[in-house]
């Protein structure tokens, strides 16, 4: 009986008319190849979407910072400074009841501008032989639009410059006294030296000089904080398998106002996918004799970064644009892989978890650029898109893992 069935199986004939379907096989073989040769549309779309969100986040951060400072912080304008000065003058007028103001018109070309703080400094400075006491502050002349610092001592002021002396800036200019009647209800104030300055830059110079008198803030020192970021990892521009994460502690030392060095200890969870060709099978014996099609994997590892941070520019001393460059070492803790392979003509799937403790020093180069904002005196928050370029393979499959994401961190500076 068995022989008969074998003979029947060997020799019976079946029509292939309804079975032939070359188009299906052709599209499965050759359209798959076309897709493999370049990044697939979903991969391209994911990449474009990620770049868009990174740019949007950075733009939002910049815009929020700009809007915050302009809308919510009521910094005094130049006009406000003048008004403040005038209010101080008025206060003084009340005190000096018999004070009179004399203002003299000067040419229209001259424009004298004084910041309220500078003028006040002149007024508060004690009298010396060379520089007389200035007891009045500023007054705004409605006709000429001038702010005038008056001094009741008409003696000449020494033209020799003295370091860090604000008034020397004015002493180099010409002096004149303006007399004006009945402008402020015949009140007379002690008048000071009227100063002419050529342009508004003088004020900035004075402000800077004034600032130099005050003690400098310390910019060097240690800082520490927390860092968290979503992580997207991929291997050789292949598709992204899922979103991982990074979390940990960072610490650094600020060398000066521009440069700082930073390190930390981070726990990375990465997810990735690769075709079999990029996975090193040599460490897995049962994969050596099969055709590995693809691998889906994820891993937990510690990362030790060593970075240099540079402040590119600052905004009103409360926000900084920064750039980061460095390297990271990986210490693998756990890997999980799902293998798809062909064995004896049949597609099979197998998964395995590896608890290895392999390490790879200087595994990736870190690149980052972002924005850091100061909160209070010592706290800083940062948002920093980053990209990690692999220098070598890691893990059981010796995979070159590229990563990207956005670092969100908060640090405290220790004076």
């Amino acid at each position: 009986m068995e022989g008969l069935f074998r003979e029947a199986a060997e020799n019976y004939q079946l029509s292939t008319d309804r079975a032939i379907d070359w188009e299906r096989i052709d599209s499965a073989l050759h359209k798959t190849e076309d897709v493999d040769s370049e990044p697939s549309k979903p991969e391209k779309k994911n990449r474009r979407r990620f770049i868009f969100w990174c740019l949007l986040l950075v733009s939002l951060g910049w815009f929020t910072h700009y809007a915050w400072n302009n809308a919510f912080k009521n910094k005094p304008t130049h006009k406000n400074t003048l008004e403040k000065s005038i209010s101080i003058v008025k206060k003084q007028n009340r005190v000096t009841t018999d004070a009179k103001i004399s203002i003299k018109k000067i040419s229209d070309k001259q424009q004298t501008i004084f910041g309220g703080d500078v003028a006040k400094d002149i007024a508060d400075r004690p009298a010396t032989n060379k520089i007389p006491k200035v007891s009045a502050l500023t007054e705004k002349d409605d006709n000429s639009g001038l702010l005038i610092v008056h001094n009741n001592n008409k003696n000449e002021i020494d033209n020799n410059t003295r370091k860090n002396d604000v008034t020397n800036t004015y002493a180099g200019n010409s002096n004149s006294v303006i007399n004006k009647t009945d402008k402020l209800n015949n009140q007379q104030v002690n008048i000071g030296v009227e100063m002419e300055v050529n342009n508004a830059k003088q004020i900035i110079k004075d402000s800077v000089a004034k600032k130099s008198l005050t003690p400098k803030k310390r910019v060097t020192g240690f800082y520490a904080g927390l860092l968290v970021s979503p992580d997207l990892s991929f291997i050789k521009s292949q598709k992204i398998s899922g979103i991982g994460s990074t979390f940990g502690l960072i610490g650094g030392y600020r060398l000066n106002n521009k440069w700082s060095v930073e390190t930390g200890i981070l726990l990375d969870k990465k997810k990735y996918y690769t075709k079999g060709a990029y996975f090193d099978k040599s460490r897995i014996s049962y994969l050596n004799s099969v055709d590995l099609l693809s691998v889906d994997g994820d891993c937990n590892m510690f990362e030790i970064p060593i970075n240099i941070r540079h402040k590119l520019s600052s905004y009103k001393n409360i926000g900084n644009w920064t750039a980061t460059l460095g390297v990271s070492s990986y210490f693998m803790k756990r890997e999980y892989y799902e293998y798809s392979f062909i064995k004896n003509g049949q597609t099979e799937h197998k998964d395995h978890t590896y608890y290895s403790s392999s390490k790879k020093l200087f595994a990736v180069v870190n690149l980052g650029a972002g924005y850091e904002r100061t909160i209070g005196k010592t706290l800083h928050v940062r948002i920093e898109p980053y990209f990690k370029i692999p220098l070598s393979g890691v893990g059981t499959g010796n995979l070159s893992i590229s990563s990207t994401g956005v670092n969100l961190g908060i640090t405290k500076f220790f004076h």
Binding site: M1, A8, A9, S15, A19, I20, W22
Partner: protein
């Protein structure tokens, strides 16, 4: 033989022309194998085409040890893949024993001068195999027709060797009922 070698090399390079030649040459062979397992023509056609996709993808791993036996090696390799795909197909589709009769147009047309009587017998025997339940049918095909041992069948199907033997015995008993033998043991007709 050289021509076949050239075709195989072309297929390994993913040349569509070579692949089509190979496909048209061995489709009938693959279809016959798949049909014994899955039982229906449509499912057999799907399984055979799926097998060819896998064959062409894996052809670069096909080793030619002796160029004189290329065709035999190739057919053995195709057979293995088709059987594996057919078994996968049976699992996926949860096929049950086919009780519907086969349409006449699935058979290839033959005349009397070409062993038509034998063909009639072959058709009947294959149709008998089709009546077996999937578990019995696959074991019968693997062991009796394709020559796998019970241990190999157990590994392929994820069953024990004992279950394989048991299923085979039941399959034979089922088929035996349909065969009438004369006193010399020759099969006379089918009931």
């Amino acid at each position: 033989m050289k021509e076949l070698l050239t075709i195989i090399k072309g297929c390994a390079k993913n040349e569509a022309k070579s692949q089509r030649i190979l496909y048209e040459r061995y489709l009938a062979y693959a279809l016959k194998i798949a049909f014994r397992y899955v039982g229906s023509y449509e499912n057999a056609a799907n399984a055979a085409n799926d097998a060819f996709i896998r064959i062409f993808k894996g052809l670069k791993n096909f080793e030619i040890r002796n160029s004189e036996d290329v065709e035999a090696m190739l057919m053995g390799w195709i057979r293995k893949i088709v059987i594996n795909v057919s078994i996968d197909y049976m699992r996926k589709e949860s096929l049950i024993a086919e009780r519907t009769s086969l349409q006449e147009n699935v058979w290839s047309q033959t005349d009397a001068s070409n062993g038509g009587d034998n063909q009639l017998m072959y058709k009947e025997l294959i149709a008998l195999i089709r009546k077996l339940s999937p578990a019995y049918r696959v074991v019968f095909n693997l062991h009796v027709i394709d020559g796998y041992s019970h241990q190999e069948i157990a590994t392929m199907l994820g069953i024990s060797a004992g279950t394989s033997k048991s299923n085979l015995a039941k399959a034979k008993a089922f088929l035996q009922k349909f065969l009438i033998k004369d006193t010399k043991g020759n099969i006379l007709c089918f009931t």
